[in-house]
Amino acid sequence: MTEIQSIATPAGSVSAELVDFVVHEARLADENRYAEWESLWADDGIYWVPTGDQKDPQTQVSFVFDNRHRIGSRIAQLRSGRRHSQTPPSKMRRQLSNFEVLSDDGGEVELAANFSLFEHRYTTTIWAGRYLYRLRYTADGLSLVKKTVLLINNESAIRTIAFIL
């Protein structure tokens, strides 16, 4: 995972603004507040959940590789009331920790965090891994440019992930 390794070294301190943003993002995802979650995204947003040994999303398949348009489609489907794999929706709570700023050029910042996510739907499933965020400073505050979800079990067969990871 070339791209992922290249941003693995901490490069700055983590401001309260950054933590507040991703904690808020996590809460919207946990509570299935789809429209509010979607509104966090920049127009060039990418939501990426790689498969295990994946090196390049252009030549290898991901679990999710949504551009901004497809993020919109995903949310529209969830909001249709007929997305059976989220009817009823998952109940979720996730913890974020181990924040690191990996780069910050004043325009955009790369932030990493560990996460654990407890998802309940019929039974409780535990998801864990690392989030990598690329956030953009705008006049209206931060916007989400990229969210990469590195599941610890992404080399194995995983349960359905129709909710927002």
């Binding site: 498969t51 994946q54 030549t59 679990f63 489907q77 997305r83 794999s85 067969a157 995983i158 129709a162």
Partner: protein
Amino acid sequence: MTMRLEQDRLAADAIDYEKLIQRDRVHGSLYTDADIFQKEMRDIYESQWVFVAHESEIPEPGDYVRRRIGEQPLIVACGKDLKVRVMLNRCTHRGNMLCQSDAGNATLFRCSFHGWTFSNDGRLQGVSFRGGYEQSLGELRSELGLAEAAQVGTYGGFIFANLSGDAGDLEHYLGNAKDAIDRLVRMSPAGGIDLSAGWMKHDNNANWKVVNEVQVDGYHPLFVHESLYKAIKPAKVDYSSDELRVAVRDLGGGHSEVDYTAEYQAQDREFIWFSSIPRSRVPDYIEAMEALHGPERTHDILVDGPPHTFIWPNLFLAEMQVMFIEPLSVEQTIQYTAPIKLLGAEEMSARIIRQTEGAMGPAGFLIADDAEMGERNQVGLHAQEPEWVLFGRGFESEKVEPRGITSYDRTSETSQRGMWQHYRTLMTETTND
């Protein structure tokens, strides 16, 4: 692979499958009974041809992938001689799992327990502290190579293996499903497909037969995929129309297909099977196809599109994806999905990867909901009343055609009936041995 013990009779051998599998219905216990699952693994998976891998996953000498047939863990490897071997992933010393990685390249497998080494063609190479045996190293070597599938065959790059040695000839087994592979391969301007974009693996809490039944079901899209068609984009064809020209076909041998060719041809539009993209999105692909086939034939191929064909018992040619399943237990099945890269068509292949993520796999707009249906089905089937699962739709609409028993009613359960009739044959034959 060699023999099972003579006394290896299973409790489920005593069951009367003729009774449980009738013409228009099957008994619910076939999906929930762990004894029956054990017999299926022995008499279907471990006795018949099963898809294990694609040549493009292991193109170079030393390449291997780890797979299963039934309950048998396997290494599928390409040897120095470029021969594909399907070997049991069990050290011949005391049974340790020899290879742990899902995929890789190795000239040698070294057992982590006591250090025995095997070359990637399965021959025993080295025995550590070799003095401890009565036999010479040469004797040990000749006796203790890895066990291998009795038959390995490929068609169109798809590798099939048979552990028992009495499944007959591969092409005979593929039967009427063989030309579905041809139809898929002809989508490539270089005459080949490549599955090296990798697999999404999806853990389904459902019996393997439920997973297969959903894949070839022409009746469910309007209901299960309503959210996609309403919220994102209309279906590629009008599933609500009684005029829809779709053939549901039992190809024999458990194979089946949902064939949209007639509808596509009647509309005479290219790429209906691929979000109806205009030609201008994939100019290199069009150019390469026309260079090979000429304009008319290219048009026809792009109208007809790829197959939607299930190859018994575990492979599904899902248009621009290949899917296969590994049953883990009576209630658990792993479903694998890979995008198909068409050799000689890079931009088209890149689009197929994105399409695959959109539609398929654990987060896909389609498959997440299909998996949900499979899992609910599995829960429902635990209820013991009514006893029967109905597959009686569309009998009257069936005709016997050269390609197989065909219904032109898209809702007909012809595919599932085909699977079940074949299943009954396999489960009965071995019982009466």
